[in-house]
């Protein structure tokens, strides 16, 4: 490769990498440079938001496992007309702007939404509650899990399953003892990514659930709320989220790599 081309390649790729890396460094640097890293400025609101984020994302992940796993299995194994359409709709939230997702959820579960009257009749008002946060997170993040689980289920060879069937195993036993264990790593990797996406959820949550400390204000909403009046609190919360993102990304990559062996 000629020298000039190598130089160009190096310069362009370095610029791309710096664009991705420098903002994260800036986040840490600002805290260190201002000397404010020793004192957590508003510890109790950070803790309150972190706790809420953990609780709601835990619930979202549970919902994903309970409802997302069967859907992923059906999409991977069953052949039916319109399967492609069902799959596209399932994965739509991955590319849909979250604010649109929030608006759509509001028009579905809001007081004036499609199910609004029915929900009000049973005394359920979803917007502005932790349930709304959970629904928003599940809507936005579950496709990441469903997609990964679908690939995982599809990769399990049917020879192994058929062998079990020949030996007289019921369909349920085949699933529990053959399919699920073999797909588990792919499922876990997908679940970790989906959880990280739920932790980072912002647009759908603020539109659908609003923002109130202790009730619907998750970590990302806290950052947005306080960055104007208390930059240190915003940065601290941001750093926790960066750490969470780093750990989950490494975990999910580790899970995925082992899968190749």
């Amino acid at each position: 490769m000629p020298k000039i081309a190598r130089l160009l390649l190096l310069t362009l790729s370095l610029m791309a990498w710096l664009l991705l890396a420098v903002p994260i460094v800036a986040l840490v640097w600002r805290l260190v440079a201002s000397g404010n890293w020793q004192n957590l400025p508003q510890a109790e609101i950070i803790i309150s938001a972190t706790w809420l984020s953990l609780k709601t994302t835990f619930a979202s992940v549970l919902l994903m496992i309970v409802f997302g796993t069967p859907l992923a299995y059906v999409l991977a194994r069953w052949r039916f007309t319109g399967r492609r359409l069902v799959r596209v709709i399932t994965e739509l939230p991955i590319v849909l702007p979250p604010a649109i997702a929030g608006l759509a959820l509001l028009l579905t579960f809001g007081r004036r939404g499609i199910f609004g009257t029915a929900l009000s009749a049973v005394g359920l008002n979803i917007p502005f509650t932790a349930l709304a946060v959970i629904i928003a997170q599940t809507f936005v993040a579950s496709p990441f899990y469903i997609r990964a689980a679908q690939v995982g289920f599809a990769d399990v060879s049917d020879e192994l399953e058929n062998a079990a069937r020949v030996d007289g195993a019921s369909e349920i036993r085949v699933f529990w003892h053959i399919t699920l264990p073999l797909a588990l790593r792919a499922l876990s990797a997908g679940l970790v990514l989906a959880w990280a996406r739920a932790m980072g959820e912002f647009g759908a949550t603020i539109l659908f659930a609003g923002s109130l400390q202790g009730r619907t204000q998750t970590m990302t909403l806290l950052v947005y709320d306080v960055f104007q009046r208390d930059l240190d609190t915003a940065i601290w919360t941001g750093l926790i989220l960066v750490a969470v993102a780093l750990i989950t990304l490494m975990l999910s990559q580790w899970l995925a790599r082992e899968d190749d062996l």
Partner: protein, 300 residues
């Protein structure tokens, strides 16, 4: 390899052309950047149209909450004029030496109204009803100027409605929105029962979906005052000064009135220019309120 080389060459040429494009796009006309509080959005868009019709200067807006704008200015945003929805944020910028205190002019005032969805699901008729258990109230976040006035107002009301009034209203707050327009949107959508907003937020676009309940005249509600100023190191400062003058002129002031703003009080103004504008306006106040399709109480 030859292909690769020529590919690199093409990329290089594209890169050079691309950077030249940025250099050679000369501004076809002069422009000024105006950082404007969200509550001024509609009035200032009309203001800019009227201004650009007079002077060949394009006005570029950045609309956001005053606190956000102040933070952006502090971080070194390239801005010529700052129009804030409260004095505190303007003073912060003055204190940082980015604006000369003599250049700050109060150009408008705003008042409170209580809004509920058109069908008023919680049957709210007065400010006292905000304390009813189960009412879904929306407020702006603590960093938004209107919230400071709202808290002030509720404390004033607590004197007549009882000591626990403030706490009971606060217990009904279900969401704190990042700006006042989003507070209005919640009520327009009917997702919540009531909110306290500026009278100017009841724009024609949303007035059909809302019922406006004016505050009783005996309530000494706090008044939001809007300051405008040119930045000390404003790019294109002559044009920026022209724009500020235009906002303070009779024409500018009547645009603000048409969008529901009140004119600043006499006594508070030391500036001769503002006093001059005020003397020319009593008949305009009547006209603007009469023409408006928005039913809100006239300026106090």
């Amino acid at each position: 390899m030859k292909l690769y080389q020529s590919l690199c060459r093409v990329m290089l040429i594209v890169a050079i052309l691309f950077s030249m494009k940025f250099v050679t796009i000369a501004q076809p006309r002069q422009s000024i950047t105006v950082f404007t509080a969200s509550s001024l959005t509609d009035a200032f868009i009309e203001m800019a149209q009227a201004f650009s019709a007079r002077v060949d200067v394009e006005v570029i807006f950045n609309f956001a909450g005053s606190t956000t704008l102040a933070a952006q200015i502090e971080m070194g945003a390239d801005v010529a004029v700052f129009a804030s929805a409260n004095e505190e944020q303007m003073q912060n910028i003055v204190a940082m030496g980015l604006i000369d205190a003599d250049n700050v002019h109060i150009f408008a005032e705003n008042q409170f109204v209580l809004i509920v969805p058109a069908d008023n699901p919680a049957q709210i008729e007065s400010l006292q009803d905000l304390a009813m258990t189960g009412t879904l109230i929306i407020m702006a976040s603590e960093s938004v100027p209107i919230r400071v006035y709202t808290d002030e107002l509720l404390h004033i009301l607590a004197e007549s409605y009882g000591d626990d009034y403030f706490d009971r209203v606060m217990a009904n707050v279900v969401s704190e929105e990042p700006n006042v327009r989003q507070v209005v949107a919640r009520i327009v959508l009917g997702e919540a029962d009531a909110a306290l907003v500026y009278r100017t937020d009841i724009t024609p676009d949303v007035s059909d979906s809302l019922r406006v309940i004016a505050l009783p005249s005996d309530v000494m509600s706090p008044v939001a005052r809007y300051p405008i100023a040119i930045l000390a190191d404003a790019p294109n400062s002559d044009d920026a000064a022209l724009f500020v003058d235009f906002v303070l002129s009779d024409e500018g002031q009547s645009i603000l009135q048409a969008w529901g703003f009140c004119l600043p009080d006499d006594e508070e103004d030391e500036d001769g220019k503002e006093a001059e504008i005020l003397t020319a306006t009593p008949e305009m106040t009547a006209e603007a309120t009469a023409d408006s399709d928005v039913e809100v109480a006239p300026c106090a």
